[in-house]
């Protein structure tokens, strides 16, 4: 998107690797708000999941003469040449939503590992409340294999699971961050497993597909019912929030892409003003549930999907 602005003469280039995920629409929104506020010009590219294309995009931006590069990396390691190009052109780089390996000016992330482990804790707590102990079978719908965010959510999930010997993973599949694919997988998994207590989906697009499958297979009981299959996703996207409100999905571990992006633009402003900036900014995540959704904490954190 091109924002008119530009009075300040500063151009920010933002490279994302996808737009087909509502989370990234939230980032766009925050980016636009931020650049408008500061009067910066904005250049955005989308590499459609392709790490090489993303390197290309960033190189093209630098050719075009942007002053700052913001990026959400498809692969934190494979971005190195783009960072090198930015370095040699003396363009500061800020990574948002995911970290990169080579040293850059600043990084703003939520902790994907923590998202995975939070989900396990939450499932364990619910099952303990229901059965008296953290025992049960869990389905793990992973994100696109080979992508860093999916790998780290999976890592957090597995590490934390080791602390609960009573929890067993009945099935683990690659849901591809995709609603339709996760839906099909979940239908088959329900077939193979008469007893399932909980599902961890690596993002909310998957969680929504999982919930639809549970309903279609006649296995749905509302949140709170002893027969309910717990569903937890990550992101806080709109359909998932709606499912949480409707008592279908138990929790969404939400980031706030809008505010993270505004923070990123503020960081650029700090750099323009020659203030020092933090190298690593950890953005907290919020667990949105039916109970917490209208709480002041969540209100304060912000439900970003209501704003895009």
């Amino acid at each position: 998107g091109e924002s008119s602005g530009g009075a300040s003469g500063v151009t920010i280039g933002y490279s994302t690797y996808t737009l087909s995920n509502p989370f990234f629409a939230g980032m766009q929104k925050g980016l636009q708000t931020g650049t408008r506020k500061h009067g910066y010009k904005l250049v955005t590219t989308n590499s459609n999941g392709d790490a090489a294309q993303q390197v290309t995009d960033i190189q093209n931006m630098i050719s075009r003469g942007v002053n700052y590069v913001l990026l959400s990396p498809a692969d934190g390691k494979a971005i190195t040449p783009a960072v090198a190009a930015a370095d040699s052109a003396k363009v500061p780089v800020i990574s948002i939503a995911d970290s990169v390996v080579p040293p850059i000016t600043a990084t703003i992330t939520i902790d994907d590992v923590k998202a995975g482990s939070d989900a396990v804790d939450r499932i364990a707590a619910d099952l303990t409340a229901r059965k008296g102990s953290a025992t049960g079978t869990i389905v793990d719908i992973q994100g696109i294999l080979g992508t860093p965010s999916a790998a780290r959510r999976e890592l957090g999930f597995r590490q934390q699971l080791a602390h609960y010997p009573g929890l067993r993973v009945a099935a683990a599949q690659d849901g591809g961050y995709d609603t339709a694919k996760s839906n099909s997988l979940m239908v088959d998994i329900l077939q193979a497993n008469p007893q399932i207590d909980a599902v961890f989906a690596a993002n909310d697009a998957e969680a929504v597909g999982v919930s639809a499958a549970i309903k279609a297979q006649g296995r749905f009981k509302p949140v709170g019912d002893p027969g309910h299959i717990i569903v937890i996703g990550v992101d806080g996207s709109k359909p998932a929030i709606a499912d949480v409100r409707a008592g279908v999905q138990d929790a969404s571990i939400s980031q706030n892409p809008i505010k993270m992006m505004e923070k990123a633009v503020d960081t650029v402003a700090d750099l323009e003003a020659h203030k020092s900036v933090q190298k690593q900014i950890d953005w907290p995540s919020a667990i949105i549930t039916l109970d917490s959704i209208d709480s002041p904490e969540v209100k304060n954190y912000g439900i970003w999907s209501d704003e895009v």
Partner: protein
């Protein structure tokens, strides 16, 4: 008709089913079989149209993003207050329109089907992104979702649709003059022209029907998910073409049957279902899928060879 000579890849399907029955207790339940059919519906319905297109010697790469765009437009309208059944009509009209565009470009502008439909793939996906701004549309009324999510008795509506579309497709190919003409145009376009077949119109109809089928597939998908998602149908084109080609239809045109396509669709459905039922490690899933498809076509090839040795 032209394709009847070839025994389709049925042995591989039977073997796959037998293997799954032995390996998993859940496979042969009526519920699981219904699931396989339901899950195959989107690919299956799109494959009915694709079979016609491929028999003409063409290809339609736009089917996946056609599913996304037509489903998205209809869902947004319905979300904005339009009646559900009107949404159904809009979805089919948009999808058929995309098919018509493809058909027009291939038939009258004489562009290569691969390129036209690849360009349309990009355009339709781009429009979907632009219209949706990357957001899903959810909370749709049953008027729009019934085709994909409803049931009649114990049987999901998509299963009926799937069966009906294959039957109609089979009859069109084997019993109508249009089917006859599609084989002729795909087999030898010049000869078809010479014998009075309106080759361009036939090509146009094939792509039009292909588009309309994508629209129906979109309705099924929207119904199944209860939402229109911008990534819907990503990569669907390859699955659809794979099902058609595994079913014995030649990408060079002129040869193929709807029954073959049905078997191809079911084979892929059974393989996917089986791998999930058996909870194969996700790191191995793609490898095994590929290997099984290769095994199936190899089996088929040897079987064909046995039946007709004298074919160099």
């Amino acid at each position: 008709m032209a394709g009847n000579s070839r025994t389709p890849i049925i042995i591989a399907l039977v073997l796959a089913c037998v293997a799954m029955t032995l390996l998993s207790d859940n496979f042969l339940s009526s519920r699981n079989l219904t699931n396989i059919l339901t899950q195959s519906t989107v690919v299956g319905i799109a494959a009915v149209g694709a079979t016609l297109v491929i028999i003409t010697g063409g290809i339609d790469l736009s089917v996946g993003s056609n599913v996304a765009l037509s489903g998205m437009i209809a869902s947004q309208l319905v979300n904005g207050g339009t009646a559900g059944f009107l949404g159904v009509v809009v979805c089919l009209v948009v999808a058929a329109g995309i098919g018509a565009f493809n058909g027009f470009s291939v038939a009258w502008l004489r562009l290569a089907p691969f390129i036209v439909t690849l360009a349309v793939l990009g355009m339709a996906r781009g429009l979907t992104l632009q219209l949706s701004q990357g957001q899903s549309v959810y909370g749709l009324p049953s008027g729009l979702t019934w085709l994909g999510g409803g049931t009649v008795g114990a049987v999901p509506v998509p299963v009926f649709l799937f069966a009906a579309m294959f039957l109609v497709g089979h009859l069109v190919l084997s019993r109508t003059t249009l089917g006859h003409q599609i084989y002729a145009v795909g087999g030898n376009r010049q000869a078809a022209r010479l014998s009075g077949i309106p080759d361009k119109r036939v090509l146009f109809y094939a792509y039009l029907i292909g588009g309309a089928c994508a629209g129906l597939a979109a309705l099924v998908l929207v119904g199944r998910l209860g939402a229109a998602i911008p990534t819907a149908g990503n990569g669907l084109e390859l699955q659809v073409i794979a099902a058609v080609v595994i079913g014995g239809t030649s990408l060079f045109g002129g040869k193929g049957t709807m029954v073959g396509t049905l078997i191809g669709v079911l084979l892929i459905g059974v393989i996917n279902n089986g791998l999930t039922l058996l909870n194969v490690s996700p790191f191995w899933v793609q490898f095994i899928q590929g290997a099984l498809i290769l095994a199936a076509v190899l089996l088929d090839a040897f079987n064909q060879r046995r039946l007709s040795v004298a074919d160099a």
